[in-house]
């Protein structure tokens, strides 16, 4: 990260964590935590494309930990954040356009790649993140079919529109 994109990422970090902890956490509590709208992974997704993977993992861990401290679930979001920080690199690699990323597109934003591409990437990315979030929440493979996967699907369905709205709203260029 350089001085050009440091501050946009910092604002995203702070803004998304606050929105997550104050607004979306309340919504989640209304359902007894059965389904969560997890928006803060957008911070991880919008990290610079060229960012080395270890840094993405660590930043994912940090943003998750920040949310954890505000919602009292120490480690759960941090584990999911680190996991999706690593998954992001694989997903971006899979969805790379012909010739790969040129460096002219600093972030994985619909500004550069179009909505279709963005929603596919975000769809997979959020599915991975939400799955790992619930896996860490239940912490045992015993609940995989009974609770983890159904709640992942439901939360994913609820999360994606919010992701779309936020991305449309801010339309990040860097």
């Amino acid at each position: 990260m350089n001085s050009v994109n440091f501050f946009p990422n910092l604002w995203r970090f702070a803004g998304l964590v606050l929105v997550q902890a104050i607004v979306l956490e309340e919504a989640s509590l209304n359902t007894d935590g059965y389904c969560n709208v997890l928006l803060y992974p957008l911070f991880i997704l919008f990290l610079p494309i060229t960012l080395p993977v270890p840094s993405a993992v660590l930043l994912g861990f940090l943003v998750g930990l920040a949310v954890d401290f505000l919602t009292g679930t120490i480690g759960v979001n941090a584990a999911a954040g680190a996991f999706s920080g690593y998954a992001r690199a694989i997903i971006l690699h899979r969805f790379a356009t012909k010739g790969g990323y040129s460096g002219k597109e600093p972030v994985a934003s619909p500004v550069y790649f179009g909505w279709r591409w963005f929603l596919s990437v975000a769809g997979v990315f959020f599915a991975v993140h939400i799955f790992w979030y619930f896996a860490m929440s239940y912490f045992t493979p015993m609940y995989l079919l009974g609770k983890i996967i159904p709640q992942t699907i439901l939360s994913w369905v609820l999360t994606m529109p919010v992701v779309f709205i936020f991305t449309r709203l801010f339309y990040p260029k860097i």
């Binding site: 080395p52 993977v53 480690g75 690593y86 860490m136 045992t140």
Partner: protein
């Protein structure tokens, strides 16, 4: 070092992920009650197996310590056994009778023997005067003129003591005289080595009228100040009357082969100095 660096550059993301996730697992199970409970239960299920392996490994590695511990324990038990034979407890009708150490009136038990476990680190059997070196000395409480026994028999008598070692006359030493008796008879004699065959000892001074047979047990007599009374020494090999003598010639096969002495106990009779003093008093009278 270079290859480790290469590995990190190639798989740095994965390595970071693994480290961070492990740390997260720790955080989750430490700071969240529900997940903590789940991980504790899971740990218990798997740790049983793993702990089993661990115990097996520790047992194997600790065999040497275990062996030492057992030797010390044996010394304690042997001394209890040795002492149990000499405990006299007055009963209500003032008749004194012998009881086992762990039965009655513990408070008036007078322990007679102290046993110190040790190992023979040097031993000769081929000479005329045979000696053993024991890895216990003054610092361990070994004193000169104390008996050395093994589980199965008698090994010798301590003569010289340094800080950490003791030198004992083997039973294969002409000066080693063991006060012994044939089990079942009250007569006692001296068990000595005649200097010929290291396989056999000779029991002297047993009157010819005793019907001693081969395979009879020879044990420490109750007059011995060096060894616990009743400790088995050997088995009668041959016994016959020597022409013109009123005593039997008894050849004894020691139950502890002198050549294979290994784990030993140094026996200290706590009353030996007192008894020796009394005997000195008799000599003065004469």
């Amino acid at each position: 070092m270079h290859s480790i660096l290469q590995l990190f550059i190639r798989h740095g993301g994965l390595l970071t992920l693994v480290v961070v996730e492990v740390f997260c697992f720790y955080l989750i199970s430490t700071y969240n009650d529900a997940q903590g409970e789940i991980s504790a239960t899971t740990w218990m299920q798997y740790s049983g197996t793993v702990l089993g392996w661990k115990t097996d490994l520790y047992d194997y590695v600790g065999l040497k310590d275990e062996n030492t511990r057992l030797r010390i324990e044996n010394a304690r038990l042997q001394s209890q056994l040795a002492n149990s034979r000499m405990i006299e407890v007055p009963t209500l009708d003032t008749v004194r009778r012998q009881v086992r150490a762990d039965t009655l009136e513990r408070k008036i038990i007078r322990p007679e023997y102290v046993l110190i476990s040790g190992r023979v680190v040097g031993n000769t059997i081929s000479g005329r005067n045979n000696w053993m070196i024991i890895n216990r000395g003054k610092r361990d409480g070994v004193q000169p003129n104390t008996g050395v026994i093994t589980r199965s028999g008698v090994a010798g008598v301590v003569r010289y003591v340094s800080d950490n070692f003791a030198i004992a006359m083997s039973v294969l030493h002409p000066q080693t005289k063991i006060s012994a008796a044939v089990k079942g008879y009250e007569y006692f004699g001296s068990l000595v080595w005649d200097g010929d065959d290291p396989q056999y000892l000779t029991l002297t001074d047993i009157p010819y009228h005793l019907p001693v047979k081969p395979r009879d047990t020879i044990q420490i007599s109750n007059y011995s100040l060096l060894f616990p009374e009743g400790h088995t020494v050997g088995l009668v090999d041959t016994a016959y009357r020597v022409q013109g003598s009123s005593f039997l010639y008894i050849r004894v096969k020691p139950t502890q082969t002198p050549a294979s002495v290994n784990d030993v106990y140094v026996v200290t009779n706590r009353y030996a100095p007192e008894l020796n003093d009394l005997q000195q008093a008799i000599k003065k009278d004469e």
